[in-house]
């Protein structure tokens, strides 16, 4: 006898689906058989640090804005997405294949470079290409497992950046986040949460900047006019290319001031999560 009704029952089940997906991540086949992969499941209030890290980036990076608005919007509606953090150890090669794919003649040279220069990228790096293939296969199996369960999902570099910045799964040097649910159609594609966030004019300007050839006039003169408005010929407008101090300044400010501030705010709490987890396979929160 029993009775289940409402969002709570399927939100609970989402967590079980997430556990099945983590199983698929660990079961995923590897090419090298030597790449350490780990995963953890986050939801509810534990998404707050991630949302906070994405917030200052959202106005600067459009694709990141969509992820931020969607995750924040769902969370605020009481439909918390469940996020699987997938981590991999890929910045050293223990293969000794010396294949050259990384740009170095030997794995030893790559490892020395990685030790000196590594970890400065938005998503970590540098990476052994064969290990990143193993990692990507695991991420792909996570997506496929989610679709198998008919759960809306999307693998996100934006979440990867936030998880990396906040030092979740500290043993891993590459991270991506797989956002799952809530249970409705097309949460992470054709996104409802971004409705009304931008004006039509902003949407149009995104298109002009991203696909300028669509708006180019006759190029025979060598400096085509651009059709950016209804009466585009009066007066004509031209495309300019140049260094943008303002754009770079905003980016620097976000990456080197605002994000670190948020990271510091949550650092102790995030670190405490892993204090009792000795191996990379552990799931500190479960």
């Amino acid at each position: 006898m029993g009775h289940l009704i409402g969002t709570d029952c399927y939100q609970d089940h989402l967590l079980n689906v997430a556990k099945s997906i983590v199983l698929a991540i660990h079961k995923a086949p590897q090419i090298t058989g030597k790449t350490a992969i780990e995963a953890e499941i986050l939801w509810g209030e534990d998404l707050i640090p991630i949302i906070e890290v994405l917030e200052p980036l959202a106005p600067v990076v459009r694709y990141l804005q969509w992820d931020y608005e969607t995750i924040k919007g769902c969370y605020e509606k009481g439909q918390s997405p469940v996020i699987i953090n997938i981590g991999g150890k890929v910045n050293r090669s223990n293969l000794n294949w010396n294949c050259g794919a990384c740009g170095f003649d030997t794995c030893a040279e790559f490892n020395a470079y990685s030790k000196e220069q590594g970890g400065g990228g938005q998503l970590g790096g540098p990476c052994c290409n064969w290990k990143i293939l193993d990692y990507a296969i695991a991420c792909d199996w996570a997506c496929a497992a989610a679709w198998q369960h008919k759960v809306d999902n999307r693998i996100m570099g934006s979440l990867g950046f936030a998880l990396q910045a906040l030092n979740y799964l500290p043993n891993s040097d590459v991270k991506l986040g797989l956002a799952l649910g809530p249970a409705r159609d097309m949460v992470y594609f054709s996104r409802e949460e971004i409705r009304g966030v931008l004006t039509y004019e902003q949407d149009k300007m995104d298109m002009i900047r991203s696909i300028p050839t669509m708006f180019a006039g006759f190029p025979g003169g060598g400096n085509p006019m651009y059709k950016t408005k209804q009466d585009w010929w009066a007066p004509p407008e031209f495309l300019g290319v140049g260094y943008s101090e303002a754009a770079m300044e905003i980016l620097q400010q976000v990456l080197y001031e605002q994000v670190p501030e948020i990271v510091v705010k949550h650092a102790d709490r995030v670190a405490a999560r892993y204090a009792d987890v000795s191996s990379g396979d552990g799931n500190g929160d479960e």
């Binding site: 010396n98 740009g103 293939l133």
Partner: protein, 266 residues
């Protein structure tokens, strides 16, 4: 509605068996695997990739001569690096034991990177690690000089290589779903690329596919390149012929029998 004669003539029978190799019944089995491999290729093409950018090419290779050529290339590569030698020699055996080779390549990782400054290739906040080692003009990479002292002409855009992993993962997922045995191999990818398969790609992974009573890619014995089913069969042919010769007889006149027991005499 037009009806085709063959639609009205729908009957037949097919004997399918993995033994003997390359017999009609075995080739019918292989054709089933080929269908699975084609679906794997579709899965690779529809795998999630950064920005939804088309960047995957697939080549299916099958047939005795074609697989033998790949196996020999894998063996050639095996001897170029002590770290490869034994595993790659084992994998050459697996190529011969496969039904179809699915080669999956990424057409952008060496030429048209993601350009997102993700840092995955070099660990920095821009794409300089890639471009500084490439022959390019204002970011347009010239790939016409295809000579390289390296097995793979890196550096590659690691974000694109990551996408290649998704393509391979999806192909493997479909293989699992269809219950055909499949595994991804670096050796087969490198051999395929050197042979000119997936020629638009900067990096290639080879997925071997088979549907046999024993999965060819697991449970290998020691010295697998020397002791495997082909070698065991060949060794049987070597030993058994001589065994016949050393104790031959004219079966029309006499056939050796064990001596009769006392009970049989009574």
């Amino acid at each position: 509605m037009r009806k085709y004669v063959e639609d009205l003539d729908f009957h037949g029978e097919e004997h399918i068996n993995e033994w003997t190799p390359w017999s009609p019944q075995d080739i019918r089995r292989k054709k089933g695997v080929l269908e699975a491999a084609r679906l794997m290729a579709n899965s690779a093409l529809t795998a999630p990739v950064a920005g939804g950018v088309p960047q995957t090419e697939v080549q299916l290779v099958y047939g005795q001569e074609e697989l033998e050529a790949i196996a020999r290339k894998v063996e050639e590569i095996a001897h170029k690096n002590p770290a490869w030698k034994e595993p790659f020699l084992y994998e050459a055996v697996m190529v011969r034991d496969s039904d179809v080779v699915v080669l999956i390549g990424n057409t952008r990782c060496h030429e048209t990177p993601l350009d997102a400054g993700c840092g995955m290739c070099g660990g920095g906040l821009d794409c300089s690690h890639f471009y500084e080692q490439k022959n390019h003009r204002y970011g347009l990479v010239d790939t016409t000089d295809r000579s390289s002292s390296r097995m793979i002409d890196g550096p590659l855009c690691t974000a694109r290589v990551d996408d290649l992993g998704y393509a391979v993962g999806s192909a493997l997922w479909t293989a699992h779903t269809l219950l055909v045995d499949a595994r991804a191999f670096a050796s087969v990818g490198m051999a395929g690329q050197k042979m000119g398969y997936c020629r638009n790609s900067g990096m290639v992974v080879g997925v071997l596919v088979a549907a046999k009573s024993k999965n060819p890619y697991v449970d290998v014995n020691v010295d697998y390149h020397l002791i495997n089913m082909d070698k065991v069969l060949d060794n049987t042919r070597k030993i058994y012929q001589t065994a016949r010769i050393i104790r031959g007889f004219d079966y029309r006149k006499w056939i050796p029998k064990p001596p009769k027991t006392s009970q049989e005499d009574e």
